[in-house]
């Protein structure tokens, strides 16, 4: 059923908006709003107390969501930091020759080596969640920065010349040319970042191993801590359930988010 023709952007072709488009977007918008609210509530009032000897499916479900929140927040922060950082590093050949080696060294230092310091810093401020998020953020950051630097170098000289001739400068150049051009590299970088994040989250939620005389009560509830603590206590049922939840979540994200984004981003590649 056709409702009406909307101009998508002033310079873009018109396209048909149907009733199903509206229904789907309403459902998606409500879903995003609920998830973001739950995420904010989680970080404002974290409830991390759990007893590994008595774990129900509800606890595993909450742990799965909490891990997803941490990963999502860390990813948003990494994305917001990585793109300007990559633009800065690649901005001039001179700056690149200085900053690129520094970035190279920083990315090759294992994130977990920083972890005790990070945990001590945040725990002193009673910010357990932020300790985990910060370490996941650090592990994700460079996975986005380097592909984006590479992506900036794929913008052909003729496109840059065309931007000058057609008066596309400053923010308009970033918005209409640079950002679309690096989009495929942001997507592939994000995929790598999430893969790295899943590895780190296992360790990042088990804070007590980084706190002197720490106990399991200082761990954050999440898939990582459930996996580690259930293994330590030989709770094989919990371990398998948490592992299954993680595999399901990763598969779902891949099918619902990354595959469609990878497909879409092909359109943004220069031939």
């Amino acid at each position: 059923m056709k409702i009406r023709r909307y101009p998508h952007y002033r310079h873009k072709p018109l396209y048909e908006v149907t009733l199903s488009h509206h229904l789907v977007s309403i459902v998606v918008a409500i879903g995003i709003a609920i998830s973001l609210t739950a995420m904010v509530i989680h970080f404002v009032h974290p409830h991390n107390a759990f007893d590994i000897s008595q774990v129900s499916f509800a606890v595993i479900a909450r742990g799965t969501l909490d891990t997803l929140y941490r990963m999502t927040l860390a990813f948003i922060l990494a994305l917001v930091a990585a793109v300007p950082l990559a633009l800065l590093i690649a901005s001039t050949p001179r700056l690149q020759s200085i900053l690129l080696p520094i970035a190279d060294i920083l990315q090759s230092v294992p994130v977990l080596a920083f972890f005790p310091v990070v945990v001590a810093f945040f725990v002193a401020r009673n910010a357990f969640e932020l300790a985990a998020v910060f370490v996941i953020f650090l592990s994700m950051l460079w996975n986005i920065v380097f592909p984006v630097i590479g992506g900036l170098q794929t913008i052909p000289d003729d496109i840059k010349s065309a931007a000058i001739v057609f008066n596309v400068r400053g923010w308009r150049k970033f918005w209409y040319i640079t950002l679309p051009a690096i989009l495929p590299f942001i997507v592939t970088g994000s995929l790598l970042a999430w893969a790295q994040g899943w590895t780190i989250v296992i360790v990042a939620e088990v804070l007590h191993t980084y706190i002197p005389h720490g106990t399991a009560s200082q761990d954050l509830l999440g898939l990582g801590s459930l996996l580690v603590d259930s293994n330590a206590q030989a709770k094989n049922g919990v371990f398998l359930a948490a592992l299954t939840a993680m595999i399901l979540l990763v598969t779902l994200l891949n099918l619902a988010v990354w595959q469609p984004l990878l497909h879409l981003s092909q359109r943004f590649r220069f031939d």
Partner: protein, 248 residues
């Protein structure tokens, strides 16, 4: 300041690069007249692309003076279309960036797509088109700027001969309809003689000579007069070669 009769003037222009250090344009002075097709020709690496980039404002001269309009349209060898925008959106984008209001953007886009016979391809993406069609989009986009000057940097060198012939005739048709000043960079003698009113021969960054082509249009590349002009032009460039010291 630009006068109506000579929209583009270069006075004693030099262009050098620091890395690697090289003087690519040497003391070049040139006036391009309103409404003419001016072809810049020369061997690879002679600096002809740099000259058109200087005229386009893409590069700044190291010394000398350039008089040019604030806005020019330009066609690129590699088409330089944005792959994420449709044909229509690519053309509209250039118009929009000139600050035209939405109504004018739409009108200019449709008018120029019609001019290059691509109305039927408006909703396609560049990668769905042939090389010739892509370059037609490039021409429509350059015209959407509504400048009196159209610059073309080796626009046909990536195309096959049949497509090149078609686009030559398109350019002449558009020129006859719009009477724009066209500056074209080429390394092809026949192309230069077929299209141009005047030809600037560049060798080692210097403007060696300006050749006036007095053949009436439409020109035919089989005609004796045409081949004579091509021979003359070839002689000039090869003559320039002969002045360089010969190997023992």
């Amino acid at each position: 300041m630009t006068s109506a009769a000579t929209p583009i003037i270069l006075r004693h222009v030099n262009k050098s690069y620091v890395k690697p250090p090289k003087l690519v344009v040497k003391n070049l002075s040139l006036s391009i007249r309103q409404g003419e097709i001016f072809c810049i020709i020369g061997p690879s690496g002679c600096g002809k692309s740099t000259v058109i980039k200087l005229i386009a404002g893409i590069e700044a001269p190291t010394s000398g003076e350039i008089v040019r309009p604030d806005h020019v349209g330009m066609v690129f060898q590699s088409y330089a279309l944005l792959p994420w925008l449709t044909v229509e959106a690519n053309v509209a984008f250039a118009a929009r960036m000139q600050g035209f209001d939405p109504k004018k953007v739409k009108d200019v886009t449709q008018q120029n797509l019609r001019l290059v016979h691509l109305e039927a391809f408006a909703k396609r993406y560049p990668r769905e088109l042939s090389g010739g069609q892509r370059q037609r989009v490039g021409i429509a986009r350059a015209l959407a700027v509504e400048s009196d000057v159209l610059l073309m940097d080796e626009p046909f060198s990536a195309l096959d001969p049949v497509m090149t012939d078609e686009l030559h005739n398109d350019v002449l048709r558009i020129w006859e309809q719009t009477r724009k000043t066209i500056v074209l960079v080429s390394h092809n003698f026949e192309e230069a003689i077929y299209l141009a009113d005047r030809i600037g021969v560049i060798k080692n960054g210097r403007l060696e000579e300006i050749v006036q082509v007095n053949l009436p249009r439409p020109r035919h590349d089989e005609d004796e007069a045409f081949t004579a002009e091509v021979r003359k032009l070839r002689g000039l460039l090869e003559g320039a070669h002969a002045t360089s010291p010969k190997a023992p």
